[in-house]
């Protein structure tokens, strides 16, 4: 048993820190740390810096421009980048569709799409969920009918994160209605500029535009955009979901959010003293910090087992549930910490360039909105109920 980093790993951590010290733009880090909105341009600017460093595609083989990090190195990157305020990488291209193209795509698709993901030329979004197919993803109804050299796609996708920025979408579509749900699904790559595609915003309860509905009406998709074999898409979809689930526990992000919470609680007053010295509140913080410590070690145990050649299985589902609950608990406390000031929604203070007087705390404005927004954590990427089903089936055999 050795829970310390090796000398090489420590050297890697120094390298990561030196890189972030030098290259992470201060305005972007300030936005991330203050829970402000990031623009498309912010994401693209940071992606370019990462790509130039060769650290953008950490899941890809080196021949396609990836970097070969060990699970521990990835973990170090995750920890450090959350601590520094690195923007959450938009996973749909680099971490979702790319691994599918690499494993199941043909050579032309690899040559065409992978470089454009690396360069940032393509912004991908995910066409999985539908109004009638959420947790029961395999019941999806969007139809693709072969017509000569094309598929004609009709249907609707929903919860399409940042689809408003995307120029490409990977979609699960039904190509066969005669077979079991899972067996008639195909995996299509679709250019968002194709006629017949409409993107409509979904405004969430915090007033944000993050997700969208995407409508397909007689959309012509060239057959060469099919990944792998027709009707075998479910296999690829599941492969992708394992990539989606790793990292959903968000341990690094919870650590950053906790540190933010403690700073906030040191500034806010209750009974004339800093809130962090208040018995009730400090115990609430202590409890979530203890839970996070435990989840952090669980995360390391999974990482170590993967490092030793294991495959993360249902353990990541357990960690997703725990990790999202912890992050939501931290958001809950941050909202509580500002007391009556949880009520005002002062939108202008969300702007990093805001120069007016802050209504209460300089970081108060996004806190309630963030608490509400992060209710999504226990819903997306497979709801926590679905994760528990996976655990009860895969580990417990129930």
């Amino acid at each position: 048993m050795n829970m310390n980093y090796t000398a090489e790993e420590l050297a890697f951590r120094d390298e990561v820190r030196a890189f972030l010290d030098e290259k992470l733009p201060a305005d972007i880090a300030a936005k991330v740390k203050g829970f402000r909105r990031l623009s498309k341009e912010d994401h693209q600017r940071w992606q370019k810096i990462l790509s130039e460093q060769g650290w953008y595609a950490t899941h890809w083989p080196e021949e396609y421009g990836g970097v070969k990090w060990t699970p521990v190195q990835k973990h170090i990157w995750d920890e450090e980048s959350c601590r520094y305020g690195v923007p959450r990488s938009i996973p749909f291209g680099v971490n979702m569709v790319a691994p599918v193209i690499i494993k199941f795509g043909n050579e032309e698709q690899k040559q065409k799409y992978l470089p454009r993901i690396l360069s940032g030329e393509d912004w991908w979004c995910q066409g999985y969920s539908e109004p009638g197919a959420g947790s029961d993803l395999a019941s999806l109804k969007t139809r693709a009918v072969r017509d000569g050299d094309h598929y004609i796609v009709n249907g609707q996708k929903t919860w399409t994160t940042l689809g408003q920025h995307a120029n490409m979408i990977f979609c699960l579509v039904r190509t066969n209605t005669e077979v079991k749900n899972q067996e008639g699904i195909s995996f299509l790559l679709i250019d968002m500029d194709t006629p017949g595609i409409t993107v409509r915003p979904i405004i969430t309860l915090d007033g944000e535009h993050e997700v969208n509905e995407v409508f397909f009406e007689d959309v012509k998709v060239p057959v060469e955009n099919l990944v792998g074999e027709e009707d075998k898409g479910w296999t690829y979809a599941k492969y992708l979901l394992t990539y989606e689930r790793t990292g959903l526990a968000g341990i690094g992000m919870s650590k950053a959010a906790l540190s933010h919470l403690k700073q906030l609680a040191s500034r806010r007053l209750k009974n004339g003293k800093p809130l962090i010295e208040d018995p009730t509140f400090s115990q609430r913080i202590a409890r979530v910090e203890i839970d996070l410590t435990a989840a952090g070690i669980s995360n390391l145990r999974i990482i170590a087992s993967v490092e030793g050649g294991g495959v993360p299985g249902a353990e990541s589902s357990m960690l997703k549930v725990k990790g999202t609950e912890i992050r939501q608990a931290i958001n809950d406390l941050a909202r509580r910490a500002i007391g009556p000031y949880a009520l005002p929604f002062v939108e202008e203070e969300l702007d990093l360039n805001y120069e007016g007087e802050f209504l209460s705390d300089e970081n108060a404005a996004p806190l309630s909105a963030q608490y509400f927004n992060n209710r999504k954590l226990s819903i997306f990427g497979g709801s926590n109920e679905i994760q528990k089903n996976i655990v009860s089936k895969m580990i417990l055999g129930l």
């Binding site: 959420g134 509140f281 819903i379």
Partner: protein, 380 residues
């Protein structure tokens, strides 16, 4: 023992329910929320015409002479409609403070207007440093000639943006956290030196922070005895807490009804999702929390207008604690049971969820009231 409403109370509740159903569709509410006023002037007018803004006031004022139960029946229906009007702020709290502390002149000047709905009052008792402690007052009122000069800031005054009369606490003596030395003043927001920073709130209403910068008021602005307002504030905040609890129960009822409907309608894996045991049990827990909350709302209504006592204090602290916890549980569980749709602006559930969280940030959250209750624990 009888928990049923009497005929008059039932009629009152039915009247409000009809009005809310007729005038306060979800779509209309979104529109009201986006106006500068932040609620419906027309609906306020109708509340007034039906005599509903007069419910808690004595008959001499044209009031209904209603007590905690009448207020409870009314607030629950306003909760079901997620009504944005500042009823609690103006009628219950503002009217209550003036009714209890005001002299005959002040009552004559203001109470009739509040009861008729023509005059809207807002109440500023919190400050940036006060958290939820209403005795934590830094705003100063210094005697000058016959009147006073006020300096300080009042935080998160819901309804303050459109109020015709603002009631604020200010310290005439003592230190920030002393119980003694707090006074109440009623002033027009147009008084020189009053500045309002208005904002929307997370639950769709509007409020403001009020800065008082050398605000000169006459002796007639002082409500009640100088330096002795803490008890009045505590008592009236208690009545407002009971009203909030009643409102919260209405919000929770709707949140649960919407969730239950969704569990029956929404199909996944070929069946309504309400067939899944994990969702059934969560729905049952939501109902149990609602019943706990309802019981405490009833109990708090029963003491709202009784003489102050440690028992009244305990009941109100307990009620607000239960309401806070139940509200958060129902809010979060309801969103989770709905899935993504529960997080969208266009569907009404999220707005009920937000109101429940917001109520926990008004007049003390569950932690605040747990501590308060603990400090009042009786030896066995």
């Amino acid at each position: 023992m009888d928990f049923r409403l009497n005929e008059e109370q039932q009629m009152l509740q039915d009247t409000v329910a009809r009005l809310v159903r007729g005038e306060y569709s979800f779509e209309k509410r979104l529109e009201f929320s986006e106006t500068d006023l932040g609620f419906s002037a027309d609906f306020w007018q109708q509340l007034s015409e039906l005599g509903l803004t007069a419910v808690p006031f004595s008959e001499e004022l044209g009031g209904f002479g209603g007590g905690g139960v009448e207020v409870q029946s009314l607030m629950a229906e306003l909760g079901r409609g997620l009504c944005l009007e500042p009823y609690m702020q103006s009628v219950i709290l503002g009217g209550g403070l003036i009714d209890q502390a005001g002299n005959d002149n002040q009552k004559e000047n203001w109470l009739a207007g509040i009861a008729s709905g023509e005059l809207k009052a807002a109440v500023g008792l919190q400050e940036p440093q006060s958290f939820y402690d209403l005795n934590n007052v830094e705003t100063r009122a210094e005697k000058k000639g016959e009147g006073y000069v006020l300096n300080g800031r009042k935080a998160v005054v819901i309804g303050g943006h459109c109020a015709d009369l603002i009631v604020v606490s200010a310290r005439t003596s003592g230190d920030t956290r002393d119980t003694d030395g707090i006074s109440l003043f009623a002033l027009s927001p147009d008084t020189a030196g009053v500045e309002r920073r208005t904002y929307p709130t997370i639950d769709g209403a509007k409020g403001c922070d009020i800065t008082l910068n050398n605000v000169q008021v006459g002796a007639d602005a002082l409500l009640g005895e100088e330096g002795n307002a803490a008890d009045v504030i505590e008592y009236q905040a208690g009545r407002a807490i009971a009203a909030l609890c009643a409102e919260a129960v209405g919000v929770m009822e709707m949140a649960n009804e919407l969730t239950l409907d969704y569990l029956k309608q929404r199909k996944q894996f070929g069946v309504p999702i309400g067939k899944f045991q994990v969702l059934q049990h969560r729905m049952v827990d939501m109902m149990s929390e609602l019943e706990q909350a309802r019981s405490m709302a009833i109990l708090s209504a029963s003491v709202a207008d009784s003489e102050q006592s440690d028992e009244r204090r305990r009941v109100l602290a307990a009620a607000k604690n239960v309401i806070g916890r139940a509200g958060q549980f129902i809010s979060e569980s309801g969103i989770q049971s709905h899935g993504g749709i529960g997080m969208t602006w266009e569907y009404n559930f999220a707005h009920y969820a937000k109101r429940l969280i917001a109520i926990n940030h008004q007049l003390g959250d569950d932690d605040f009231h747990l501590e308060r209750y603990a400090s009042l624990l009786q030896a066995s």
